[in-house]
């Protein structure tokens, strides 16, 4: 959105200038939140999407600029509509009487559950507490408003409750080239438990979250730190692991629901190439 506003208000007279302005704007956006992968991925994709019009030869620069603006706005709409698309794709996977485990607070997942409730499916949701962000509390609030039966678990109770669970849903901060996802801390754990108990793990993410990263292990990510409040004072000399997110390798994910379709993790890199080319 912001970036399309940049196009509208820019006074550049050549494509190159416009591109440079866009780039500067996107860098500024990115620098405002260094850790957000979806933001930077979204910006990159926007840039590519928009500047693809360069291939079209426009005699009149103004015409080109208008076209660019259109594309920019279209991109914005697309991302808003993405959630609806994803929610529709997920409906077939939620059956009556199922139990869904959700970790983290994702608006996409919320949309999925909302639509399922609207379609009068009967299911219940287990929400992990999601310390330190208390995502579980927020999510169960929302679910209660929708009339969906939900149960709160502490993070450590995931394995304990996994027997009763039929499927696991995550959102994603970013989807990486290997097909894995970067998400809130605790996702990897939950995915591991689910995988070892043969429960399907579904990820709902818009396609602008696809990023050209290839983390080899947990520490390979740009650090995103978030202070944790333990409620009591931490003794001096004791370190606290404050990383806010982790990387889940693709072998633990079953399917990714995106607005470009339902993908297996191995297909993600192909799609990424298509998007970025």
């Amino acid at each position: 959105m912001a970036l399309s506003a940049v196009i509208r208000t820019s006074e550049a007279t050549t494509m190159m200038e416009l591109e440079i302005e866009l780039k500067r704007a996107s860098d500024a956006l990115k620098s405002s939140d260094l850790t957000s992968i979806s933001l930077s991925a979204g910006c990159d994709l926007f840039m590519r999407y928009v500047t693809r019009t360069k291939a079209l030869e426009y005699e009149d620069f103004d015409a080109a600029k208008t076209r660019l603006m259109e594309r920019g706005e279209k991109f914005g709409e697309l991302s808003l509509r993405a959630r609806k698309t994803i929610a529709m794709l997920c409906q077939d996977f939620i059956f009556d009487g199922c139990t869904i485990l959700v970790h983290g607070f994702s608006r996409v997942v919320l949309e999925v559950l909302k639509m399922a409730a609207t379609n009068r499916k009967l299911f219940r949701v287990f929400c992990t507490e999601g310390r330190p962000d208390s995502t579980g509390i927020r999510l169960s609030n929302e679910l209660a408003k929708l009339g969906i039966h939900s149960k709160l678990l502490i993070d450590s109770a995931v394995a304990y409750a996994m027997d009763e669970v039929d499927m696991v849903f995550f959102g994603a901060d970013g989807v990486v080239e290997s097909g894995g996802i970067i998400n809130m801390m605790g996702t990897y754990q939950t995915a591991l438990v689910a995988h070892s108990m043969n429960k399907p793990v579904y990820v709902a993410a818009e396609c602008y979250k696809f990023a050209r990263l290839y983390p080899l292990d947990q520490k390979d990510l740009a650090p995103a730190l978030r202070p944790i409040d333990f409620g009591v004072k931490v003794p001096p000399g004791v370190e606290v692991e404050t990383s806010a997110r982790d990387y889940t390798p693709p072998q633990y994910l079953t399917l990714l629901f995106t607005d470009i379709g339902v993908l297996t993790p191995s297909v993600v890199s192909d799609e990424l190439i298509k998007l970025y080319l």
Partner: protein, 653 residues
């Protein structure tokens, strides 16, 4: 024909034929095309899944031809067929490298187009150039039909055992292409020999015998028709023979087989059935092989003298045995006598033989530079066209280089590239223009595909190195060295563990260079790999090639390192330029490899007291095996870093 076809259903692990071929039928385009088309419909033989590709009866159309599996003269431009209709037969000059290596890797659409472009171009020009029948003939021996069939298949790049035949193919093409120059009569022979040889592996004994009878009859007829075709006869004899019982004769066979150009695939392929038959005591009809004059002629043709290989390991008989011996002084003395060979090419060949130049990139670059010199000094003989003649010359150089040391995959791809460029030269260019265009093409290839690609790889890989890392590398890879030095220059703090192995001890070279630049290094041998792996955070390996199913083909021992790293959950990064990719699929390290000098294993330099293996050759029960390459399954590889970016190994296609 039919018995032969049925026979082919048997899969012989040693020789694989991919695609359809019409053994005794004169290679006619339409026929092979129809064969290909028909082949798709026929029921696949019971045993095949893999043989599906190789068998004319398999319903599976063979994937893109380019390959190696084509035993003989595989027309270079397989992709056109694959892509387009089966209109243009890829009969064309058979280029050993092309057949050997197929088209370049197709990672990106553009490169794909290039590859197909190249192959397409070669085919028509090659076809037109050499004269139809000869070419067709040569291209068909044993695999013409296959080619067609293979082309018909689309997108299926799985070539089960094509790699197996590569070794023999390597030998074959040079012989074939050299011979082609006017041996039209040969082709039926070769075709007989080729197809005969190939399927031999797969046939049952009875079928083989039947085949031999037919071949013998055909050969007799052909012999009457055209005498003095040593290659053909050699091929024919190779094809004809079966299971000789006497060991000396099998050794002699090996010798003949190994004797350079003439050593066609047939021979290699034939070797197997003879072995088997020998055990089963089937009296082999080896009339041609017994003809000493033919063997002698074959030997004389070879530029490099090959001495007999000793104590050959059964499982690796299909590979060219190491017969290095005393060739170096021999070749050196011939330096001024070898008229057809350009001095730079000769020099490069000697350097390969001596082991002075090793490593995929080095060998490729030095070969390309030698070819560039050769092209610069080339002048078209009267009444010959530049394209055809130069291609033939390059082929002869390549066969010489093969005699010195088997081609690496990078070299093969480069050779294919050159031949494509030559074939694509517009006919209107003057000779000097053509030459300078070729030279600049070669320069461009080196710069873009090797030097620039290395820089891109380094820039990608360096992002994966963090402060405090302990990086492990195996042997000597020039790309990995560049990555480590670049990361060091960027100021990253890390340690390097260099794992080395006998007999080549290539890691010492890397150790010296890194220590000279101030990096903190640890040096150990591969026996200690599981001991040291727990403190390693990343493993960087180079590769000789990456195959289309993600298997990494690199120095022997690298697979071990990757396996141990995988067990310790240490990420393994393979750094390989895209020009080294190959469409072949290889499942193990046996079907395609290079054998090194067994004597080097038996001795430890500097330890004269460890002489227990002195005179190992006298011991019949003892065989020494010195492999040069091994194949690493894609599961052990975390990511492959190429000039196209970082990709998962399964996505190489």
């Amino acid at each position: 024909m039919d018995p032969r076809r049925a026979a082919r259903t048997v899969i012989d692990p040693k020789v694989r034929q991919v695609g359809f071929f019409t053994p005794a039928v004169p290679p006619q385009r339409s026929q092979s095309v129809t064969v290909a088309v028909d082949g798709g419909g026929s029921p696949s033989p019971p045993m095949s899944d893999l043989s599906a590709a190789s068998n004319s009866l398999s319903p599976v159309m063979i994937p893109p031809p380019r390959h190696v599996s084509v035993p003989v003269a595989v027309p270079a431009p397989l992709s056109p067929l694959r892509r387009e209709s089966l209109t243009s037969l890829p009969v064309g000059s058979y280029n050993p490298s092309e057949s050997l290596l197929g088209t370049s890797p197709l990672l990106s659409p553009s490169s794909r187009m290039d590859g197909s472009e190249f192959t397409e171009d070669v085919s028509p020009s090659a076809w037109g150039g050499r004269g139809g029948s000869a070419k067709v003939a040569s291209s068909f021996p044993g695999s013409g039909g296959e080619m067609m069939a293979m082309k018909a298949g689309s997108g299926n790049t799985f070539q089960p055992k094509s790699s197996l035949t590569t070794a023999s193919v390597v030998k074959m093409p040079p012989g074939v292409s050299v011979k082609n120059k006017g041996a039209s009569v040969e082709s039926p022979h070769e075709r007989d020999g080729g197809p005969g040889a190939k399927p031999k592996e797969k046939m049952s004994k009875a079928e083989r015998r039947a085949l031999q009878e037919e071949q013998r009859a055909a050969k007799a007829a052909a012999k009457a028709a055209g005498e003095g075709r040593k290659p053909t006869s050699a091929a024919a004899s190779a094809g004809a023979e079966q299971g000789k019982t006497a060991k000396p004769s099998s050794q002699k066979k090996d010798t003949a087989q190994v004797t350079g150009n003439v050593a066609t695939q047939d021979k290699k392929g034939v070797d197997r059935p003879p072995e088997k038959d020998r055990k089963k005591e089937v009296p082999p009809p080896r009339m041609q092989f017994d003809d000493k004059s033919r063997v002698e002629k074959a030997k004389r043709r070879a530029v490099v003298n090959q001495s007999e290989a000793r104590n050959i390991v059964e499982l690796f008989r299909h590979l060219p045995q190491y017969i290095h011996g005393t060739q170096l002084p021999d070749l050196e003395s011939k330096f001024f006598q070898l008229d057809p060979m350009h001095p730079s090419v000769y020099k490069v060949g000697l350097q390969y033989l001596a082991g002075d130049i090793s490593g995929g990139n080095n060998r490729c670059i030095s070969m390309l530079l030698a070819f560039r010199d050769a092209i610069r000094d080339y002048s078209t003989p009267p009444e010959k066209t530049l394209i055809r003649d130069l291609t033939a010359k390059i082929s002869s150089y390549v066969s010489f280089l093969i005699e010195c040391r088997s081609l690496s995959i990078s070299m093969g791809n480069a050779i294919k590239f050159i031949k494509n460029r030559i074939a694509k030269l517009p006919l209107t260019l003057s000779e000097s223009e053509a030459k300078s265009s070729l030279q600049s093409d070669i320069d461009h290839f080196i710069n873009v595909k090797i030097i620039l690609a290395d820089k891109v790889i380094v820039s990608h890989a360096v992002t994966k190195i963090r402060d405090g890392d302990v990086l492990l590398t195996y042997g000597f890879s020039c790309v990995v060295e560049m990555i480590l030095l670049s990361a060091h220059e960027l100021g990253k703090q890390f340690r390097v563990v260099i794992v080395d192995s006998r007999p080549k001890l290539e890691g010492q070279k890397l150790l010296r260079r890194l220590v000279g630049k101030g990096l903190r290094c640890t040096y150990t041998h591969v026996n200690a790999i599981s001991y040291i792996m727990h403190e390693v955070t990343r493993v960087f390996l180079g590769a000789s090639s990456v195959l289309s199913n993600g298997t990494v083909y690199s120095r022997v021992g690298a697979a071990c390192v990757a396996m141990v790293a995988h067990a310790f959950r240490v990420p393994v990064l393979i750094c390989c330029e895209a020009y080294k990719f190959h469409e072949r699929v290889q499942l193990d390290s046996i079907c395609f490899n290079e054998l090194g000098d067994p004597d080097v294993i038996s001795e430890v330099p500097g330890r004269a007291d460890l002489n227990h293996l002195y005179n190992w050759a006298d011991n019949e029960n003892l065989q020494l095996l010195n492999l040069t390459y091994d194949a690493m399954p894609s599961d052990y590889v975390s990511v492959i870093v190429t000039d196209y970016g970082m990709i998962k190994s399964q996505k190489i296609r």
